[in-house]
Amino acid sequence: MTKTEQKVLAWVKAHGSLLAAVLVSILGMVMRYPLRNIVSSDAAVYLLPWFAEMKERGGLAALSSQIGDYSILYQFCIALMTYIPVEPLYQYKLLSVFFDYLLAAGIAVLVYGLYDGTGNTAKKSRAAERAALVSYALTLCSMIVVMNSAAWGQCDSIYAALCIWSMVFLLRERYAGAFVILGLAFGFKLHAVFIMPFFLFVYFYRKRFSVLYFVLIPAVMTACGIPGYVMGRKVWEGITVYVNHLPAGQLYMVYPSFWAFLPDVEAGSDGFAFMDFYRYKPMALFFTVAVLAMLIMLLLYAKPRLEGRQAVSAAFLLVLSTVFFMPVMRDRYGFLYEMLAIPVAVLDRKTIPPALALHILMYFHYAGRLGQELLPFSMAQFSGMLLILFLWYLMILLHGMIKENVYAKD
């Protein structure tokens, strides 16, 4: 072997993680690029017509009124895109793909920080580095992430990435940063609310930051509407725009919710079903409150160590419970917990089988939705499978916490 060759190999060995990250990043793009021309029904019916309308009404000038049902911040992004001479579909997808990378990076940083249970980012072992790299690769190359952004043209990775980064800041006790980023996540999508039970849990459990930090969320949300206010929108529209996000009339919509054991009643399809929805909705809502209350009590008893992997386990369980049991959930609302399943699996190998099962199930779901074909099983059966996964996770993660934290001393 020549000296130059040896030097190159030594350099590669020394910078292996960095090179692997670059390679994974390139692979991520290789997976996404061929999907750029897929026009999903959502893109055809909503995203592209919104873009066309905004362009027709003068780009930024169109921010003076509501187009579509997304937040002002997302409308602002669309308005900016109208000035770029690139296919609108590609632009939508590029924005989401950018956040795919940010999401994968956030998950890697989260894993790196929590790997050895210290919660800090000081120089760590190669094992921590490898775990972070694996998380980055798994997130970026997850079929769910790839399909969501590059094929479907959806923007779930935007709020999910911001939620993950807000978790990173929260667990490092940089509270102002955490709440500003969370406010930004809310500024894009109301789905960021799924991480709120975890923030509330950390507030009650750690008792290290003031409740006033929570005020930053509506403050940032309101600030996110500034481009709209400049163009003449009312200040409260920065928040009221979210009312349109809430689907009504169905307990669940093409999502394997816990409530799929009740018939999937379409709003208005018949009066009886429509009336029943409004009678069942409070039941579903209060049942979710009770499930979350029980889970939070169990977590308080289990005393999770928020400096280590148990932090992300607690977050995962709370997000999964919120989305699975809340009424009116629809197709991709589980994106955040599906992403959190990755760091949980990397940090706690016992959860690799349920994580795999979860991602395969959701891949079926995405494939069915994109192909406009029905799943090979009914939504109630799909929901039953998710219930089994939920119980599986619960037993592994809670049992682990209680065993390690409550009974370890005996």
Binding site: F204, K207, R208, F209, S210, V211, F261, L262, P263, D276, Y278, R279, Y280, K281, P282, M283, F286, F287, V289, A290, V291, A293, M294, M297, L298, L300, Y301, S378, A380, Q381, G384, L387, I388, L391, W392, L394, M395, H399, I402, V406, Y407, D410
Partner: protein, 345 residues
């Protein structure tokens, strides 16, 4: 964080069980209230049934508090049990939608089992008689009571006679107002017209059970008796304390409900409550308890909206319940491995 805020949080933390119970009680009321109009029915009956839900949840919590051996988890488990029973959707559906009094009967049965396991056989069997008088489905606990009689040998068989008195009084009162004195027993004894009705049952695998009832009823009773006898013989060899005997009560009642012919919707109600109490005693059985309860919830919803969309069909759900029961037996065969309390001793 300001000092005052920290103090408030610490106070909330110290009183968290109290806050939790208050919150779930309010949420349980708010959950039930909108359900009352889904089916028409007497509001007084539904309100009374809902009240019994709360009493049942309190009783289950009290049982856990009394019999839990793990001092660390005694109080914690009892508040969790209270919430779990209160938020069992089958409990909520039965009272708020259907207006059924299952929770009243379950209340008496829980007290009866608790009294029996505390060594108070006379009041236990008296209370049991009231439960049977209220609804003959309470007879699904009879195999367990006989098992305790045979295994513990600490009370005479004549005490069973005490159970007959309240039942007879209640039945006579019913007969006085026009009811049939013994008609309702025939149903419980397997003399119904179908092998199963809207419930997961071993006999659901026989297609067209209505026509086949006459031919199979005797065989079904014999099979049920044999299964229960086998269960009793197996359990009789195990060292069991009060918590374990509660689990045994669940196992006997669930197996009876599943194998006894003529089972109708609601027969699994008491085993479901006992499965929740068992899950609180033995957390490893929690997933099984959830699945066991889900089967009834699905069937309850199917009774409201028709069986067309029923996931897995009645045979599939029966197979699922059979699998859950087998897993319960497998868990108990391995018990006490992996039990928290044992590790904590």
């Amino acid at each position: 964080m300001p000092k005052i805020e920290k103090r408030v949080l610490e106070w909330i933390d110290a009183k968290k069980e109290w806050f939790f119970v208050t919150a779930v009680t309010v949420a349980a009321l708010l959950l039930r209230f909108p359900l009352r109009n889904i089916l028409p029915g007497g509001m007084a009956g539904k309100a009374a049934a809902m009240l019994c839900d709360f009493l049942l949840a309190l009783s289950a919590a009290a049982v856990v508090y009394l019999f839990e051996e793990d001092a660390v988890w005694k109080k914690r488990k009892s508040v969790l049990c209270y919430a779990a029973v209160l938020f069992s959707l089958h409990v909520a559906f039965a009272s708020a939608i259907w207006g059924y009094g299952y929770s009243l009967q379950a209340l008496f049965l829980i007290w009866s089992v608790a009294a029996l396991l505390s060594g108070h056989s006379m009041p236990a069997l008296g209370i049991y008689g009231v439960a049977v008088g209220l609804d003959p489905t309470a007879l699904i606990m009879l195999p367990f009571l006989l098992y305790i009689y045979l295994v513990k040998k600490n009370f005479p068989i004549l005490h069973f006679g005490l159970g007959v008195i309240p039942t007879a009084v209640m039945r006579l009162a019913d007969a006085y107002t026009g009811g049939k004195l013994l008609g309702w027993y025939r149903h419980a004894a397997g003399a119904a017209e179908t092998l199963y009705t809207e419930t997961a049952s071993f006999w659901a695998f026989l297609d067209g059970s209505t026509e086949k009832y006459r031919e199979y009823a005797a065989a079904a009773v014999v099979i049920a008796v044999l299964v229960l006898a086998g269960l009793g013989l197996w359990l009789g060899k195990k060292q069991q304390h009060t918590r374990e005997l509660f689990f045994t009560a669940f196992l006997f009642s669930a197996v009876t409900a599943f194998f006894w012919p003529g089972a109708a919707a609601g027969r699994a109600y008491v085993p479901e409550i006992l499965s929740i109490v068992s899950a609180v005693f033995f957390p490893a059985t929690f997933p099984l308890a959830v699945l066991f309860n889900m089967i009834s919830i699905v069937l309850s919803a199917a009774a409201l909206y028709g069986p067309d969309w029923l996931p897995l069909g009645i045979q599939g759900l029966s197979l699922a319940e059979l699998a859950v029961l087998v897993l319960y037996v497998a868990f108990y065969a391995r018990y006490p491995a992996g039990n928290y309390s044992k590790r904590n001793k």
